[in-house]
Symmetry: C2
Subunit: 338 residues, 2 copies
Amino acid sequence: MKIGKQTIKLENTPKILQTSSMVGPKEKQGPLSIYFDLDTKDIFLGEKSFEKAESKMLELCILNLLKKSSTKAEDVDYIFAGDLLNQCISSGYCMRNLGIPFFGLYGACSTFCESLTLASLFVNANYAQKVVAATSSHFCSAERQFRMPLEHGNQKSPTAQCTVTAAGSAIVVPKDFSISGPYITYVTPGKVVDYNITDMTNMGSAMVPAVYNTLATHLQDTGRTPDYYDAIVTGDLGVLGSEIIVDLFKKDGINLQGIHADCGALIYNHDMQDTHCGGSGCGCMASVFSGYFFEQLKTKKMNKILIIATGALMSTLSSQQGESIPGIAHAVAIENEA
Amino acid sequence: MKIGKQTIKLENTPKILQTSSMVGPKEKQGPLSIYFDLDTKDIFLGEKSFEKAESKMLELCILNLLKKSSTKAEDVDYIFAGDLLNQCISSGYCMRNLGIPFFGLYGACSTFCESLTLASLFVNANYAQKVVAATSSHFCSAERQFRMPLEHGNQKSPTAQCTVTAAGSAIVVPKDFSISGPYITYVTPGKVVDYNITDMTNMGSAMVPAVYNTLATHLQDTGRTPDYYDAIVTGDLGVLGSEIIVDLFKKDGINLQGIHADCGALIYNHDMQDTHCGGSGCGCMASVFSGYFFEQLKTKKMNKILIIATGALMSTLSSQQGESIPGIAHAVAIENEA
């Protein structure tokens, strides 16, 4: 049921049965290392190209999800997935091997919350019993598509973020499913917001207005205040964008300090790993939620979190044509009690 | 409610309140000319690039939909949209101006049925009262992204299809809405199917297996036979793919002759317009359904149709890496009586 301006209350409170995450070598060296299910030392994963490697990583992540949740691929009703590559080939080729009815999504780095939103809404409406949400990104495939060939060895701007090599996935089931799991209670799909930022190396700042819009709307629609949540988790504003979003809400008299966290800021040790403003990419929130935050919920260290995945909807071509960077942010509330 | 393997029955039978279509000069010269709402003689639509022109066309198409259905943008709950461009910039930039909560999709040329499926399921589940589905494509932006710069003037293979310059959109509302309109009764989301076709200039053939899979599943899940429908409309197998799909079902003893139609085959006069195997692109089924078929339903010349949009999920990069072309097809049943 829709409440307020753009939030949907999931009255049948579907639950997340299980999650799965897989990361590359750099992410495995980061502070969240122990929370990831799978990792690879070989950035090619035995494949012949970075794109095939990314697709393989997404597939391994989903196969691990099925294994962890004792689910056969043929028992998954639908899968929602997407990635950053042109024509979303990481997801498309991965799905070829899984044989699950597939909805392809593109929301840039907001795609994990977009896929989790739609998966949850499908289960909530009794359209399906088992729906998977999954996304991936790969530093090397993203770098050569959006920036420079790796061989170029270019320097990064201090405001830049690193696309993570990671995949994450979650399987959503109805609340009467016997195994315990946190519930999806509300979703707030976002609008496209553009504050005329044109610097492709400062994506955190470009996406802040979309997060502000979606979070403010979510709080207004649900009547909640930020301190209702144990954590409000964005992905990925990075270090700089995180400072800006806290400042912005402060001006409205709303305190996010100590409540806000950002997957891009969490995934690397910035001083040691030379990652500037942190991580980004479809796989960042996907892996950090599926790894770290799901564990916090399962162990009751956190009981109520709001995850807000943020996407920058430009392309290299739109930037070359002088366009600014539109942002979007989708929010999903996940709670241990429904 | 899910029935059979992968079909969802829409028990609350949402209806299509209105549609809108816009086409370029070549499509306007085709046999369906009179059915399109808007057209442009200027392929740039006054913009500075083909990509901006495509985004503008999608926006004009949606604004016309709102006008035709006496709906304000702020009264639209959600919009599902996508296109063929890298990072779906046609939709992303268009949404910036509309201010409607947005779900970005990528399903290649299957995107219109993907968006109509999700829009209908949202209304059916009472998540929303007014949801828009929209897609676009542009010959010039597609040609230079997927094939060759226009200035190159390359010849096309006899099996090739032309990406149409067109946009289409539909607004879905609950069945109790006062204005009459055809109902969405069933949706059958598709699986990714790959029969190892590698020829990017023969996309119709590459997508046939996906159509076969989705249509066979739809018939099995619903217990219907093809002659239940006044038309089974694919988009876009083109002339060659259309022959193959009829042949394939013939081998199963199922006759599609006289029932099957294809948007890519319908939109051009192939002998006069030098369009080889016909049209393709996200805008092809979007405009042909929103223009021609919606009119057939409204005037009761047809009462039951099944539309099946088909997408080829490759990219130029995956083809350069020697990959075959995976296909997907999503089916939506639209009927005057529910």
